[in-house]
Amino acid sequence: MNENVRELIRSKSREVVDPAERKVSVLEEEQAQGIAGECGLKIKDVYNEAMEMGIYPYRYLRNMETISLEEQIELSKSRVAVVGAGGLGGNVIVLLARLGIGHLAVVDYDIFDETNLNRQALSHVNSLGKSKSGEAVELVRSVNPGVHVISYQEKLDFSNAFEVLADSDVVVDALDNIPDRFVLERACRDLRIPFVHGALAGFEGQIMTIFPGDPGLRHLYGNERSGSDKSKSPESVLGVPAPTPSLIATLQVMEVLKILLKRGKVFRNMMLHVDMETGEMNEFVFDNHL
């Protein structure tokens, strides 16, 4: 980055006092957009340079001190793929965009229909009939232009998994059926990418983080034939009301954050199970030897 850009960032930044009464140098979105336009850069590059100079993008000010400036830079350099842009995926995508993940890949072949409106964060009356992955792109750009987002309106299978997932640091399993989850797990295992599983039915849900080499989904579902009778599945019988995907997605995003920033406790080889009706959250540990 040349000195001209740095000088522009310096001159366009200003000092603010945050709610904890700390003086902080910030760069507002409008100024960052202006610098990006003037210098032929992406806003993400301007923000990264500002952060390297110790200047907070104003939009991230309220992440302080829970997410440090160094960590914010790390997130900006990270690449996350979200497979599924429905109940779980919609919420996951919104949160990852707000967090400032640098590169998001969104995969979903489906279009929105009216039954999605009860829970899917990206669905609204005007998006019915439109592509879920396409709507995800629109939303991400409107929430955070500092995130580079790419969409794939296709079903993930072994023919496209490499192209879609290969450069990801973490993959989020936001699918809605068991057989597809096994396909994703296998692809992630082959590509040596950690992935964060989440699933739900009714007011209950579960997450598990799976690293390459972990037994993973076999713990939760047994073999790959599990769940092939979709009509009898708990999610078909009990439905999927809004609070559950919202919470499970939040927990999945926390796993992504912990993996990327190498902090906290990751739920690996265990299932974090939530029953929202009783308010219980329990960890269940799996024996590694299946």
Binding site: D176, A199, G202, Y221, G222, P234, E235, V237
Partner: protein, 79 residues
């Protein structure tokens, strides 16, 4: 302390009046496996995918002492 059984999602329908907060208190006669317990409770074995005994996964053949907390889960895949 007696055996306490917690059922997840669609397994709850097999125990009429199931209370999700307190689970089911169950007394075992003699040495019994998880499979025996499920049979006694009329919960079909093929509907259960995960068995947790005191927070750790176990097989249907796991022998219960009679004072554990048991969680039974079907395969949940919605999203």
């Amino acid at each position: 302390m007696p055996l306490k059984i917690f059922l997840s999602s669609t397994l709850r329908k097999y125990v009429p009046g199931y209370d999700p907060t307190n689970g089911v208190v169950f007394s075992l006669k003699g040495e019994r496996t998880v499979k025996d317990m499920c049979e006694q409770m009329n919960i079909p074995a093929d509907k259960i995918k995960i068995i947790m005994v005191n927070g750790k996964s176990q097989s249907p053949d796991h022998i219960l002492k009679g004072d554990e907390r048991v969680g039974l889960f079907p395969p949940v895949g919605g999203g």
